[in-house]
Subunit: 268 residues, 2 copies
C-alpha cells in the first residue's frame, strides 16, 4: 500500500511539493501517493483539507505525511491536527529567523509567489517573447540583443532549455541549430562570431538523439544512428575547437541544464 | 546596508531560493542581497562556499543568513560553520521523517531534480512542443488533443501561462485569442464548441492591457483605452454567458495563474 502524502500551501504549492519531493527521494524503497492542496488561505479551507487528509488516513494502514508551507499560524494550527506527521516547512524557520534578524515577522499569508516587482514580471515576459520570437532563426541584431545563445544539433534540447531560461531567469535566450552545412569548414558559423561570449553548447548521446528523432521523423537519414553519431561528434569537435562550454543533456533535467548554464556563464 | 543572504544547494538551488525567498518576504522592511551558490556537491565546493560567505561577513555589519538544501550531511557540516545563522531546510526534516517512516534515509546527494522517469521528461517536452506549435492558431484536431485551451484578448497573458502549464504540469496547453470578430454574435466561437470543457478564460484590467499593448504597437486603435475596455468587457461577458471560469491576470504571477487553472480544472 502506498503511503499517502499531502502538500498544503496558501499559494501554488510549488515550494511544498519541491522540498517535500526532494525529502521523499531519500526513502527510495517506499512508494508514495502524492496530493497537492493549494490555496489553503483561511480556516474554512484548512478544515476542508483536514477532512480530506482524515479520510485518507482512515483508508490507509499508516498515517499520511503532511508537508505544509503556510504563512498564517492560525491556518497552520488547524492543519497540525490532521496527522501525527505534519512537517511545517515554513513555520519551523520563522522563529530562528526572527532571532537572526532581531525583528518580528509580519505573518502575512500569501506573499510567496506574488507578482512582486512589476518590472521583474515585465522582464520575464519580454524574455519569453524574445525567446519565442527567435526559436527558428537569428538575425545579427537579435543575436546582439540575446543574453545567451544555445548551440546544438536538432532535437538536443535547445528549445525547452531556452524557454526555461526565459521563464525562470528572465534571460533572452536564443538558439542556433547546427546542421551539416555548419560542419563543412569545421569552424564556428560566421554569424555567431560577434556573439562569441554568449555561446553555450548542448550535446546528447547519439543513441538517445536517434530515438527522439525517430519519433518526429522516422523516414530518411535524419534519425539514423550513423547520422546522429556524425552530427554529435562534429558538434562536440566544434565546441572544443572554439572553446565553447557545453553540457550533455542526456540524463539531466531541464532545471539542471539551465542552472548549470547560468552558473557557468555567470548570468545570475 | 543590505543583509547578505546565501542559498546553498547540491543541485540547482531552486528549492532553497524559493523557500528562502518566501521566508524573507515575512520581513518586508529589511533589504536583502541574495546570492545563489548551486552544485555544492563535495567538501571542496563547500569550503569554497564558506570562503565566499566569510568574505561577505567581513564586509558586512551583521552575519549573513544561509539557507541550504544539502542532502549530504558531511557537506552540510562544513556549510554549518559559515555563519551563526545557517538554516538547514533539508536536514531539519530528515530525522523526523525517518521516525515517521520508521526507516533510515539514504543520504544520497543530488536526487532532487534528476531526470527521474524518462517518460515524465518526454511528456513534458511533448507538451512544450504542442504548446509552441499551437501558439498562433488551432485546428479542430489539435483542439481535440489539447488538455486545456486558454481564451482571452490579445496580450492578456495567454502565451506565458500556456508555456508554464506545459513546462511545469506537462499539459498540452493551447490558446485562442479573442478578437473583435468573435464578439459580433456574442457567443463562443464555433470552433471551440467541441472543447467546451477544456476552456478557461483570462482577463486583465483594461488600463494595464492598454499599457502593455502600447509597448508593442503604439499606433492605431489597438492599444487605446476605449478599445481595450471594449474588448475586455466583451470577453468577460462571453465567459459569463457561456459559464467559462476565468481569472484576472493583472496582479497575479504566472505561477499562480497556472496553479489556479490546474486546481479549477482538476488537471493535476
Amino acid at each position: 500500500m502506498k503511503r499517502r502524502v499531502f502538500f498544503i500551501s496558501d499559494r501554488t504549492g510549488i515550494t511544498a511539493e519541491m522540498l517535500g519531493a526532494s525529502l521523499l527521494t531519500q526513502f527510495p524503497d517506499i512508494e508514495f501517493q502524492r496530493t497537492n492542496i493549494p490555496f489553503v488561505t483561511n480556516t474554512l479551507a484548512a478544515q476542508s483539507a483536514v477532512a480530506t487528509i482524515t479520510k485518507a488516513a482512515n483508508e490507509s494502514d499508516a498515517p499520511p505525511l503532511v508537508f505544509s508551507t503556510l504563512t498564517d499560524p492560525d491556518v497552520q494550527h488547524i492543519i497540525a491536527t490532521s496527522s501525527p506527521y505534519v512537517f511545517d516547512l515554513f513555520g519551523t524557520f520563522i522563529e530562528p529567523l526572527e532571532a537572526a534578524l532581531d525583528r518580528e515577522s509580519s505573518h502575512t499569508a500569501g506573499r510567496m509567489h506574488g507578482i512582486g516587482d512589476a518590472n521583474v514580471y515585465e522582464r520575464r515576459v519580454h524574455a519569453l517573447n524574445f525567446t519565442l520570437g527567435h526559436d527558428d532563426g537569428l538575425s545579427p541584431r537579435s543575436l546582439n540583443e540575446a543574453d545567451i545563445v544555445l548551440l546544438g544539433v536538432s532535437r538536443c534540447g535547445k528549445t525547452p532549455t531556452c524557454l526555461y531560461l526565459a521563464m525562470h531567469y528572465s534571460l533572452k535566450a536564443a538558439n542556433y541549430p547546427l546542421t551539416d552545412d555548419d560542419f563543412d569548414d569545421q569552424r564556428l558559423p560566421k554569424i555567431l562570431m560577434p556573439a562569441r561570449d554568449k555561446l553555450y553548447g548542448l550535446t546528447i548521446v547519439p543513441e538517445q538523439l536517434s530515438r527522439i528523432r525517430r519519433e518526429r521523423r522516422p523516414q530518411g537519414k535524419y534519425a539514423t544512428l550513423p547520422q546522429c553519431r556524425a552530427e554529435v561528434s562534429q558538434a562536440e569537435a566544434m565546441f572544443r575547437a572554439d572553446n565553447i562550454q557545453f553540457i550533455d543533456t542526456t540524463t539531466v533535467s531541464i532545471e539542471e541544464i539551465a542552472a548549470t548554464i547560468v552558473r557557468d556563464m555567470q548570468l545570475h
